[in-house]
Structures are given as C-alpha cells and as structure tokens.
Symmetry: C2
Subunit: 211 residues, 2 copies
DNA sequence: GGTCATTTAAAACACTCGTTTTAATTTGTC
DNA sequence: GACAAATTAAAACGAGTGTTTTAAATGACC
C-alpha cells in the first residue's frame, strides 16, 4: 500500500467504500483518510466525486464487459458458421458466469459486484447513468443474441423476460456483499459456482417457458 | 388538500417524494414545503425522519401484505382439505398479482411500489430493516408454501430460486416508476397485467426447472 | 543547481441536513 | 370565557458535505 501512487490508492479506497456503504453514504473525507491522501486530491485527480465514481466503475467493469461480450460474440459466430440457432443456455452462461465468477477475483470484488448490482436501480441518476452507459451495449448484444435463439418469441415478451433475468442477477449481486440473515428452519441460499449454475438453469427455464 | 390534517398531508407528501427521489435524497424541508406544513411538524408527529419513513411504509405495505398472506393461506388450506399439493403457479400468483396490481391503486402507487422494490437492496440499513421487518413473515409463508408444492426440490435450491424471483420482482417494481429508455429497434417491455402474467409464467417455469 | 510543471497540504467556503428550542397559536373541555 | 393541552411557527444549532483557494513540497529536465 506504500508504493502505489495517490491516484490508485484513492481509486482502491473509493471502490471498497462505495461498494460497501454505497456511493452517497461515503464521504470524500472517509475515502481520502482511508487512502492516506489529502482531501483535495480527489478533486485534483478526478475532478469531482462523480468523476471518481466513474473511474471506479470503468476500471473494473470495462474488462468484465469485454469478457462477456467476447463470449457472446463467439457463440453467435460459431452458431452462424454451423448454420444453426445459438443456444439460450450458452448465451445466458456467457452473460452470467463471468459476472458471478468475478466475485472471487481478489479482495473487494464481491463488494464491487454489489455496487454494480445496485447501480441499476439507483434512484439517483448520477450512479445509474454511469452504469447504464457502460452496460447498455452488452445488454443489447445479449438481447439480439437471444432473439436469434428464440425467434418464435414475441419481442416484447423476450425483452420482458430478459428484464426478469437482469433483476434476478442484480439482486444476487447485491446480496453477495451482505451478511445473510439466518432464520431457524430456513436454509441458506447457494453461493458461488453452484449459485451461478442454478441461476443459468433458472433463467433458461424462464426464458424458454411456453408462450 | 385543505381538509385533511397536517399529519396526513406530511405522510402523503413523504410517500410521493421518498418513492420518486429516494429516502436519502428527500429532505424534510422539501417534504414539509410540499405538504404545506412547518419543518418541525415532522419531528413532532413522527419523532424523526426514520419514523416518518416507517409510517409511510407501514400504511400501505401492511394491507398489501395482508392481502397476499390471505391468498397464500387460502391456497394452502384448500390444498390441505383436498389432500393434494398446492400448485406453484397459484402460490406465485397470490404473491405477484396483488403486488403489481397495486400499482393501479391511485396516484403515487407506482412510486410507492418502486420504493418498496428498492428497499430490499438498499445499502443503508435504515430503509432495508424497516422493509424486511414488514415483509419477512410473508416471505417465509411463501417459502413454506412452495416447499409443499415442490417437496422433491432441495431446500437450498428452492430458496435460491425464490431469491431469483424476488430479485426479478424487485427490479420490475423499481422500473415501473422510471421512464423507460427507448432504443431504436428494441421494443418496450410489457407493463401492467400482461407483465404480471408474464412474470408468473417466468417464475413458475424457473422454479419448476429440473434439478 | 535552477526552473518549471506536477502533485500534495492545510484551511476556509458555502451550503444542506436533521434536530431542537422557544414562542405563538389553535383546539378541546369544563 | 378560561384554562390546559395539543399543534403550528420561526429561528437557531451543530454537524457534515463537496468544492475551492492558497501555499508548500516534490519531481523531472535542461
């Protein structure tokens, strides 16, 4: 923590704190104290608190989105060369698996995923727009892929169902960073890989439900 | 707006504003101005901002939860007297239908539902706890009912899938209050009754997916 | 080594927030 | 109408926020 420069230290501290406490509950003073930096350094390096948030999100989300997009595009291209429909389950897996697997990529990853999961339903536009802008092309890519996988499904219905999947994902992503409330007689839900597999199964069944 | 007392006017204004802007972005000054009341009236009538939130949520959520619980219990009792399993789709319908139908119950209902939908994933415990406390018994009732409907399913898996359903619901509830972003070539998702029906179909298919 | 741009430090600014205090007013009751 | 309780009004409090300003320190380069 001593070698890296101030900008990175702030970025790391902000990521951790934004994700754990939420964007608006994290003050710049808390961030700079954690990062062992001066208060003004945030505005110097990132322009504003919003700029910092944008940097935090982009740093991690860009590679993740790239990974997901690559997988989806690969599925689509091989399906095209083999002259068949892409499989719903493959597309969903390409979207879901890297996202949930990301939670194991080092410390703070679970919290970052929670930040992203929460971003979609933020009441404040600052966070939501920043997220949507980053992720919308990927959503569209997935949607277009699913349309090829299930062309007989009416488009509004497919889109509606895709929204359900996104909601389920968002919720799971958020929940990962919270201590699960345990109730006597009620088991704990799955986590990690089995959860991802279960979500793929669930989403696939839902998407392929009869019309 | 002139006849009703200050307490109710504050409650109405707070409901509208909390739901639209979010709890933490709504100041007591905005609320009291909207309600045409004095700033101190909030602390006088509700003790604190949190107390006001609690009152706002309880006023609407209690009857809604009662309605959902009644329907679920009725399904369970008739299934018991007919000595058969309750149907997954019936249980889900009892849970989903009143919730989404609630959005048509007068002005501000859509926003209130968004407030509730957001509450589940709120980073701040103030809002989340207030919501969870109200809704947990209903979740357990639904879970126990689904366990009877699908006894062959491992409990952690059932619970995990139920979480997916809740996530999908939460997301839909939030989205209802937002202007939908329209993209050329991408249709709008369903709303209102068809959306509720589609969600029941989706959730049922997901829950009944093979293990 | 001196010069200049980059970076860090410390302090103050301007503003908003929830809450509290004190006083005035309204309302209910005998 | 008078008294007491409930309610409303106005003002200030104290703490916290993001941002800006001004000054000091650091580092690169000729």
């Amino acid at each position: 923590m001593t070698q890296i420069d101030t900008k990175s230290r702030i970025l790391n501290a902000a990521e951790q704190l934004f994700a754990k406490e939420g964007y608006h509950f994290t003050s710049l003073r808390t961030i700079t104290t954690t990062a062992d930096a001066n208060l003004a350094a945030v505005n110097y390096h990132f322009g504003s608190k919003e700029g910092l948030l944008k940097a935090v999100i982009e740093r991690r989300l860009k590679p993740l989105n790239q990974r997901r997009a690559d997988r989806i595009e690969k599925i689509l291209s091989t399906a095209a060369t083999e002259q068949r429909r892409p499989r719903t389950t493959d597309l969903l897996r390409a979207f879901i698996e890297p996202t949930l697997a990301f939670r194991n990529e080092g410390p703070g990853a679970v919290e970052f995923i929670a930040l992203i999961g929460r971003a979609m339903n933020e009441p404040d536009e600052t966070v939501r727009n920043c997220f949507i802008q980053q992720v919308m092309p990927l959503f569209i890519l997935l949607y277009e892929g699913l349309k090829k996988a299930r062309p007989e499904l009416a488009e509004e219905i497919l889109l509606t169902r895709l929204h359900f999947v996104l909601g389920a994902m968002s919720h799971v992503m958020c929940a990962g960073a919270r201590p699960q409330i345990s109730i006597p007689g009620i088991p704990q839900p799955l986590t990690d890989t089995p959860q991802a597999e279960e979500m793929i199964r669930f989403a696939c069944a839902g998407l392929e439900a009869p019309c």
